[in-house]
Amino acid sequence: MVALRKRGAAPTDVRRVRRDHLLFLAFIAPNFLLLGVFSYWPLLYQAYLSLTRWDMISPTKTFVGLNNYRFMFSEPGFHRVLLNTGYFTGAVLVGSLLLGLALAMLLDQRLHGRNIVRGIVFAPFVLSGAAVALVWAYIFDPVYGLMRVVLGWFGVGSPDWLVSTTWAMPAVIIVYLWKNAGYSAIIYLAGLQNIPTELYDAAKVDGATGWQRFRHITLPQLSPTTFFIAVTTIIFSIQAFDIIAVMTEGGPVNATTTLIWYLYQQGFRAFRAGLAAAAGMVLFILMLVITLIQVFIVQRRVHYS
């Protein structure tokens, strides 16, 4: 981001202030217009839709007040949907951070063919989610799947991943992590390379062990990176749709129905636009709250050098 230089406006220089304002407008206008058309307007419209009953085909939308919200929260399976969303997002968050950091530390070593390995690690991130999910559905096949072979090496039998209500969610999480770990790894790698080597040299002179250097230099120095990855991972994963849609369609027995799949099911399967919009609002409020918490609490403890 380019920070605008703050200029002390002399009282005589009104033209200059006006010019600054114009420049400011010119800078934000394109973004603001796009956000307005593609983010804020749909959000307002969604808020309105969530107060109506509409089947997406009939020309009339009936105003029903808060009935959609009442209906949704009284639905027996809805707390399960929220729990699933938390389960998925939480596991993906922790997994992405740990896996990303571990991969980044490996990729940071001076090894032969390191650039190729970096490319390979990042590659799944740019693949299409639907294609990835389709391939993994075969890998998870309890009879023919690769996973059965791999688990067999450790003498473990393969669960019936996508049919079991216990294992379907871990399966989806594994796929999502496999696809997205490269992203956090690359960001972490950039973070690692920004840490000044003098810090490590100084620590070594003072006799710090490898673990101490990691604990007291690497981790604190990476905290802005961690913060960034945490925010983006939560925002991406709470909206993760493609892998669930292709692998499980929210099943079995709603074991992988997250808020976004619930929204899709209500909106585009049952054609209940109002209910889907209400679910969308819940999703929006959830993300807003998470982001605010992150900004106000976590950011204070983040260490920017």
Partner: protein, 466 residues
């Protein structure tokens, strides 16, 4: 870099804005790119960008002076190739009408896109809708009654198999003509049956199926189960509709009164639960076709529409039969028919009927049926030499056709209740996977169906289903 003056900057950002706005509009219409084809038509009078986008469909474009009909269809793979052949043949055979066949994904996806297209007032002319999805558009009065159009093109609706055309007839008018209609069919692995010393036929009742399952268990094959059910994603509520009828029950009645929590339906579910969890003879397969073709289950139930691909992939001898009975026989119809949109221009509606007339020619019905396994929907096609030949060459096709007169349209709970199919299907998963008591599960399912039925109850009453 030269210095950027204020004027230069503002004019630059202005033009950047313009480009962004254009790009935005572009992506907006991209979402309905399929639809813009309809506004293109033979006149080609719409905006350049829109028409350019519309010609994404493969094959030659419409000639000047032709009536272009936009047809949204739902068949990919082997079945899609068969449809493409029919469309290409039709376009080559005459000069007045050009059918622009646009594949839209699954039945559900086609319905989703159609709903969006109706909201955007950019509808296709003709669309394939499933036995479930067409109801949504029927109760919203967006479909075109076809009687007069059929008469004008001298298409005889009485040539359709009665039970099938009756399903698309409401309030005395035809709205939806059968095209890719299917029913569940019973499949068994003849090689395994022989090995287990079982007779070479499908079991007559579920109880017989169970005894045979025990025989198959004695083969001691670790990865083999006797019978595969499927999951909600793969329409287990459609297959289980047959079971409920066979046990003398119903999902619901014509007025959308829910009956799935009553004793007969519960008994059908309990039978399944015991068969899976106590006898360990059955299981839930995400794709029973795949498991069956790979010899993981000895028996299963799957659409006749999968017959072609199962026969093509399996490396053993396949037998088919009618569904097992219990107290009586019961088998639902399924699959898709064709409908026209009321909002489409009149001349294109008539042109679309010409294509339907072409599809109804006995040789074309026979070709479509042979390629896909869907039912021959007309009586004339069944008598056609191509079909007769097919029956002798592969008796499995004959079974499906023989079963057809005994089938009936499904209960309203699955056809009309929003998400009814998935509500019932998820309930079945609870029985098949979690081993929950059927009574508890179906009570919960009934409650949800009753609540969700409120959305459409008045509309369904308006239809006056008989």
């Amino acid at each position: 870099m030269g210095q950027i003056t204020r004027r230069k900057f503002i004019s630059l950002s202005g033009s950047a804005l313009g480009i962004l706005a254009l790009a935005a509009c572009g992506s907006g219409s991209g979402g309905t790119s399929g639809t813009s084809g309809t506004s293109g038509g033979n006149a080609g009078g719409t905006g350049g960008a829109a028409t350019a986008r519309a010609t994404q469909s493969a094959g030659p474009a419409a000639q000047a002076g032709q009536k272009q009909v936009t047809f949204w269809s739902s068949w990919g793979g082997k079945n899609g190739e068969a449809l493409t052949k029919l469309v290409t043949d039709f376009n080559a055979a005459q000069k007045e009408v050009f059918i622009d066949n646009q594949y839209q994904g699954t039945y559900d996806e086609t319905a989703q896109k159609l709903a969006a297209a109706i909201a955007a007032r950019q509808v296709p002319d003709m669309v394939s809708l499933s036995e479930v999805t067409w109801n949504k558009f029927s109760i919203n009065k967006t479909l075109q009654p076809l009687d007069d159009l059929l008469k004008k093109s001298s298409v005889d609706p009485t040539d359709y198999v009665e039970s099938l055309i009756a399903e698309g007839t409401r309030q005395g008018k035809i709205w939806w003509v059968p095209f890719a209609r299917s029913t569940p069919l019973f499949y068994y692995n003849r090689t395994l049956f022989k090995e287990a010393g079982l007779p070479d036929r499908a079991p007559k009742t579920w109880d017989e199926l169970r005894t045979w399952g025990l025989e198959l268990q004695k083969l001691n094959k670790p990865d083999l189960k006797a019978y595969a059910f499927t999951n909600a994603k793969n329409f287990n509520a459609w297959h289980f509709q047959g079971n409920v009828w066979q046990w003398g029950g119903n999902y619901s009645d014509k007025n959308l009164e829910i009956k799935i929590d009553q004793p007969p339906a519960v008994a059908a579910g309990e039978w399944l639960r015991k068969f899976v969890h106590e006898d360990k003879l059955g299981y839930m397969a995400p794709d029973q076709s795949l498991d069956f073709s790979n010899g993981l289950c000895a028996m299963t139930q799957q659409s006749t529409g999968s017959l072609g691909s199962i026969l093509a992939t399996a490396k053993f001898d396949i037998g088919t039969g009618m569904l097992p009975e219990q107290q009586k026989f019961g088998c639902p119809t399924g699959g898709a028919g064709l409908a026209l949109l009321a909002a489409a221009p009149d001349d294109r509606k008539q042109a679309a009927i010409e294509f339907i007339k072409f599809l109804n020619k006995p040789e074309n019905v026979a070709f479509w049926s042979k390629q896909t396994g869907y039912m021959p929907a007309t009586k004339s096609a069944r008598e056609a030499p191509e079909m007769q030949q097919q029956f002798t060459a592969n008796p499995n096709y004959k079974v499906a056709v023989d079963q057809l007169p005994k089938t009936q349209p499904q209960d309203t709970a699955r056809l009309f209740v929003p998400n009814g199919d998935q509500t019932i299907g998820t309930g079945l998963e609870r029985i098949l996977v979690n081993n929950e008591s059927t009574e508890t599960v179906f009570k919960a399912v009934a409650e949800q169906l009753k609540r969700d039925a409120q959305d459409v109850k008045d509309q369904v009453k308006d239809l006056g289903l008989s």
